[in-house]
C-alpha cells in the first residue's frame, strides 16, 4: 500500500504542476480538473487504507504513549507545513516570477501532509473508541468508515446530485462522528498524572489541526493558487471528527481531573491489597506478616496515626507497634473503648470530638476505625486507625481493612500450620534417631560357643519399642541372658529399656568382696530384687517391667533363672521327649516398691541335657491376634516347638515366626515382638589352642 500511496502522491504532484503551468509539457496539455481530483482521491484512499491496515497502535493501557506518538509524529507535520509556507513567503519577496508554481506545489505538499495527519489521527482515535467496546460500536465504526469512503467519491461525480442529499449525508456523518466521539472509556484508566499529560497532548493535536486549518483557510482564496479545490467533503468531515474527538477527550479528561484522586485511591487500594497478598505469602514469621499489614493499612487509608495490638502468643515476642502515637495515648484510647464496650469489635467513628469521653483525652483526632484480627477460632488482636479530620473514613476504608485483616489472619494461621508440621517433622526425625539408638542397644553379635546355639528375632511395633534382651559372658563359662518388656510404648518405654540394660551391666559386675566363686555374681532372684529397688525410684507409678534372667552354666550343664512377671519359658526336655512351660511364680518389677519384693521372686534351677531347647519370648508373640481377634497363645507356640524341636535353633525360630506371620496376616502389629531360641548341644571338651 505504501508505494501505491507514494506513487499516487507523485502523480498528484505531476498533475498539479501541469495544471499550474501547462507549458512544461506542451504535448500533454492541461490535465482536466476531474483527473486531478481523482488522483487526489486515490492518494487519500491509499493513505487511509494503509493506516487502517496497520496493527493497533495502542499497546496495553499506554494511552499517553499513543497520544504522544501522535503529537510528536504526524503532529509535527503541521510545523513543516508552517515552515514551508514561511519559506514560500520568503521566496516570493526574492523571486516573484516563480511564486505561483511554487505556491501550488507547496500547497499540494501540504494537502498530502494534512491527509497523512488526518489518517494517522483518526485511526489513533479508532483505537481509543474501540477500546473495550461492544460489538455494536464496532459495527457503527465500520459504517462510519464506509460512509466516509463514499464521500470521497462525491466530488468525482458530476455536480448533479441534489444539494439536500449531499447535505443530509454530510450532516448525518457529522452527527455520527459526534456520537462516536462520546466514547471516551479510556480516560477512566488514567491516573492523575497521566490525565494531565493526556490533556496537554490532546491540546497539542488541536493546535496542529488549527495550524492546518488556518493555512488552508488562508490559502483557499489566495490569487496565486491555481489548483482546483481539494476533496472538501471527505477532508472536512475527517478534520471535523479528528478535532471533535480530541476536543471531547480533552473535556472529559479535564473534567475528570478533580476526581482522579478518588479513582487513584481506589486503584491504589486494589494494588496495595495485591501487594500485601504477595508480600504476606513470602513472609516467614508472623511478625513480618503483622508489620506488612500495619504498613499497608496506614498507606492505603492514609491514616495520620495508628497502632496495632497483637495478643501475645507462645514463641512470638511481637505485641504490636505504633505509628505517630505514643503507647500511652493508645492505651488511653483503648481504655475508653473498653469502657464503652467497643474493644475488639469492628467500629467506625467519624466524629470523635462529639464524644465527651474522647474530648477528655485532649487528642486532636476526628475519625477512627477499629478493625479486629480474628478467625473463627480465636482473636489475634486489633488494628486502630486515626485521622485528624472528621468524616475521615468511609465504608470502603472499613471494607478494605476488613480484607487486609482477614488476609493477615489467614496467613498467620497458615504459618502456624506450617510450623506445626515442621515441628512434627522434627519429632519424627528425633524418633528416627531414638530408633537407631535403640537399635544399637540390641546385641548384634550373638554369643557363639560349641555348647549351644542361639537365634534371635526382635521387631518393634513403632519407631521405638519396650522389648529388650541382652547377653553377658560371665567368668567360669557362664552366660547371662536377659529378656524383658517395659509396659507402655514410645519414648518413655525406650528410655526404661536403656535403663534396664544399664542396670543389667552394672549389677552383673564381679563383686570383689565375694567369699566364693558362686557369690561373685548375683543370682537371678537377687538381681531382680536389686533391679526392682533401682527402678522403684524412677519408674512412674503405673509403669512396670517384666523380665527373666537366665544364667547358664555350660560347664556344669545347668542353668538358674528367675521370672519377674515375664512370660513363661517354653522348654523341650530331650530326655522326657516333651515340651512344657516352666510354671514359676514371680512378680513384675516396679509393682511393689519396697524390700518385700524379694519374697515374690524365686530362683529355679534346672540341669539341661544336650538337645534341650529353650524358647524365650515377649507377650507380643503370644498376644498377636488374627482377623477373628483370637490370640496366638501359649498352646500354639507349644505345638510349634513340638513339631520343630529337633531342628537347628535358627530353623525353629524361623518356623515359629512363619507360623505367627500366617496366623496374624493382614493384622496390624500391636506390640513389640521378641523371640530367642537356645538349643543346648552335647558338651564337648575344650580344645586347647
Amino acid at each position: 500500500m505504501q508505494p501505491f500511496a507514494l506513487l499516487s502522491w507523485v502523480g498528484l504532484l505531476v498533475c498539479t504542476l501541469l495544471y499550474a503551468r501547462p507549458t512544461l509539457a506542451p504535448g500533454v496539455g492541461t490535465p482536466p480538473s476531474w483527473l486531478l481530483l481523482g488522483v487526489q482521491a486515490i492518494f487519500a484512499a491509499a493513505v487511509f487504507l494503509q493506516e487502517r491496515a496497520r496493527p493497533d497502535r495502542l499497546r496495553g493501557l499506554d494511552f499517553v504513549g499513543l497520544l504522544r506518538s501522535l503529537v510528536f509524529g504526524p503532529g509535527l507535520l503541521a510545523t513543516i507545513c508552517v515552515l514551508l509556507h514561511l519559506i514560500e513567503r520568503l521566496l516570493k519577496t526574492q523571486v516573484p516570477s516563480t511564486s505561483p508554481m511554487l505556491f501550488t506545489v507547496l500547497y499540494t505538499v501540504n494537502v498530502g501532509l494534512f491527509i497523512l495527519f488526518l489518517a494517522r489521527t483518526n485511526y489513533s482515535w479508532r483505537s481509543l473508541v474501540l477500546f473495550r467496546s461492544s460489538a455494536r460500536l464496532r459495527r457503527i465504526w465500520e459504517w462510519f468508515e464506509l460512509l466516509l469512503g463514499i464521500t470521497l467519491l462525491l466530488s468525482l461525480v458530476p455536480r448533479s446530485l441534489p444539494y439536500s442529499l449531499t447535505t443530509a449525508l454530510l450532516g448525518g456523518l457529522a452527527v455520527l462522528g459526534v456520537y462516536i466521539s462520546s466514547h471516551q472509556k479510556w480516560v477512566a484508566y488514567l491516573n492523575r498524572r497521566q490525565k494531565i499529560q493526556a490533556v496537554l497532548l490532546q491540546a497539542g493535536i488541536i493546535v496542529a489541526m488549527g495550524v492546518f486549518a488556518a493555512y488552508f483557510l488562508q490559502t483557499q482564496y489566495d490569487p496565486l493558487l491555481v489548483a482546483p479545490a481539494p476533496q472538501h467533503a471527505f477532508l472536512v468531515l475527517n478534520a471535523f471528527f479528528a478535532a471533535f474527538y480530541a476536543f471531547m477527550g480533552l473535556m472529559v479528561t479535564f473534567f475528570n481531573l478533580p476526581t482522579a484522586g478518588v479513582f487513584e485511591q481506589k486503584r491504589e487500594e486494589i494494588l496495595s491489597l495485591q501487594r500485601l497478598t504477595q508480600l504476606i505469602q513470602k513472609s516467614q514469621t508472623p511478625e513480618e506478616v503483622y508489620r506488612m499489614l500495619f504498613d499497608s493499612a496506614i498507606q492505603t487509608v492514609e491514616a495520620d496515626a495508628a497502632w496495632l495490638e497483637v495478643e501475645s502468643t507462645e514463641g512470638i515476642d511481637y505485641t504490636g507497634q505504633h505509628y505517630h502515637i505514643s503507647p500511652d495515648q493508645a492505651a488511653a484510647i483503648q481504655r475508653l473503648l473498653t469502657e464503652y464496650n467497643l474493644g475488639h469489635i469492628e467500629y467506625l467513628n467519624n466524629d470523635l470530638q462529639n464524644s465527651a469521653g474522647f474530648r477528655s483525652l485532649e487528642l486532636s483526632y476526628g475519625s477512627m476505625i477499629v478493625m479486629p484480627l480474628r478467625s473463627s477460632k480465636r482473636q489475634y488482636g486489633a488494628l486502630y486507625m486515626l485521622k485528624e479530620q472528621r468524616q475521615g473514613f468511609d465504608r470502603e476504608n472499613l471494607s478494605i481493612l476488613q480484607t487486609f485483616t482477614s488476609q493477615t489472619v489467614l496467613s498467620i494461621e497458615n504459618l502456624q500450620l506450617m510450623q506445626a508440621s515442621i515441628q512434627n517433622q522434627l519429632v519424627q526425625e528425633e524418633l528416627k534417631i531414638a530408633s537407631s539408638v535403640q537399635d544399637s542397644l540390641i546385641p548384634k553379635d550373638l554369643p557363639i560357643d560349641n555348647w549351644f546355639e542361639i537365634s534371635s528375632h526382635a521387631q518393634a511395633a513403632k519407631e521405638v519399642g519396650g522389648d529388650f534382651y541382652d547377653f553377658l559372658h560371665l567368668p567360669g563359662r557362664r552366660l547371662a541372658v536377659l529378656i524383658g518388656d517395659v509396659s507402655g510404648k514410645g519414648i518413655t518405654a525406650a528410655f526404661h529399656v536403656a535403663q534396664m540394660k544399664g542396670i543389667f551391666h552394672a549389677l552383673m559386675q564381679e563383686n570383689p568382696l565375694a567369699r566364693n566363686e558362686r557369690e561373685k555374681f548375683p543370682v537371678p532372684s537377687k538381681f531382680m530384687a536389686q533391679a526392682n529397688s533401682a527402678l522403684a525410684r524412677c519408674l512412674e507409678r503405673s509403669a512396670f517391667i517384666t523380665a527373666s534372667l537366665y544364667i547358664i552354666d555350660y560347664e556344669h550343664g545347668g542353668f538358674v533363672f528367675a521370672r519377674a512377671g515375664h512370660c513363661h519359658t517354653l522348654y523341650y526336655h530331650s530326655i522326657k521327649e516333651e515340651v512344657s512351660y516352666f510354671h514359676t511364680a514371680g512378680l513384675g518389677l516396679g509393682i511393689i516398691r519396697n524390700d518385700s519384693y524379694e519374697k515374690h521372686i524365686k530362683n529355679q534351677f534346672y540341669d539341661y541335657n544336650p538337645g534341650d531347647v529353650m524358647v524365650i519370648y515377649t507377650d507380643g508373640i503370644v498376644e498377636a491376634r488374627n482377623a477373628a481377634g483370637e490370640e496366638y497363645g501359649e498352646d500354639r507356640l507349644q505345638q510349634m516347638l513340638e513339631r520343630t524341636y529337633y531342628m537347628d535353633a535358627a530353623v525353629i525360630k524361623e518356623s515359629i515366626l512363619t507360623d505367627l506371620e500366617e496366623f496374624s496376616r493382614g493384622q496390624p502389629m500391636h506390640d513389640d515382638q521378641t523371640l530367642l531360641v537356645i538349643k543346648f548341644r552335647a558338651s564337648q571338651p575344650d580344645i586347647p589352642l
Partner: protein
C-alpha cells in the same frame, strides 16, 4: 469399654465391660482416683465382661494398690475370665491381689 458401678452399704462394685486398653484405662483411672472411693471398706471389680486387659490396664490397678492398702480398702476381683486371669498370673499379681471366682465369695470376704 464401659464401667458401671453400684454400691451396697460399705461396698462399691465396679463392673468392667469390654477391653481395658491404653485409652479405656484412662476412664478406669479416673474412677479409681476419686477420693470418695477410699470411704468404702471394699471395692469389688466384676471382671465377667472384661475380655482383655493390656499392660496399661494392669498399670492402673498397680498404681492404686498402695493407696488402697494404706486406706485399708480391700480390692477384690471376681468372675475373671481365664485368659484375663492368666495375664494377672503371669505378672505375679495373683499373689498380690485378691482374686476370687464368684461374687458371693467376693462379698463374703
Amino acid at each position: 469399654m464401659k464401667i458401671n458401678q453400684h454400691t451396697t452399704d460399705h461396698t462399691l462394685t465396679l463392673v468392667l465391660d469390654g477391653e481395658l486398653d491404653a485409652s479405656s484405662s484412662v476412664l478406669l483411672d479416673t474412677e479409681l482416683n476419686q477420693p470418695s472411693i477410699l470411704e468404702y471398706q471394699k471395692v469389688l471389680i466384676d471382671c465377667q465382661r472384661l475380655n482383655y486387659i493390656s499392660s496399661a490396664g494392669l498399670g492402673v490397678f498397680i498404681s492404686h494398690l498402695q493407696r488402697f492398702q494404706d486406706a485399708n480398702v480391700k480390692l477384690v476381683f471376681f468372675n475373671m475370665q481365664e485368659k484375663v486371669h492368666n495375664v494377672f498370673e503371669i505378672l505375679g499379681l495373683d499373689s498380690l491381689l485378691t482374686i476370687v471366682p464368684s461374687e458371693a465369695e467376693a462379698t463374703a470376704i
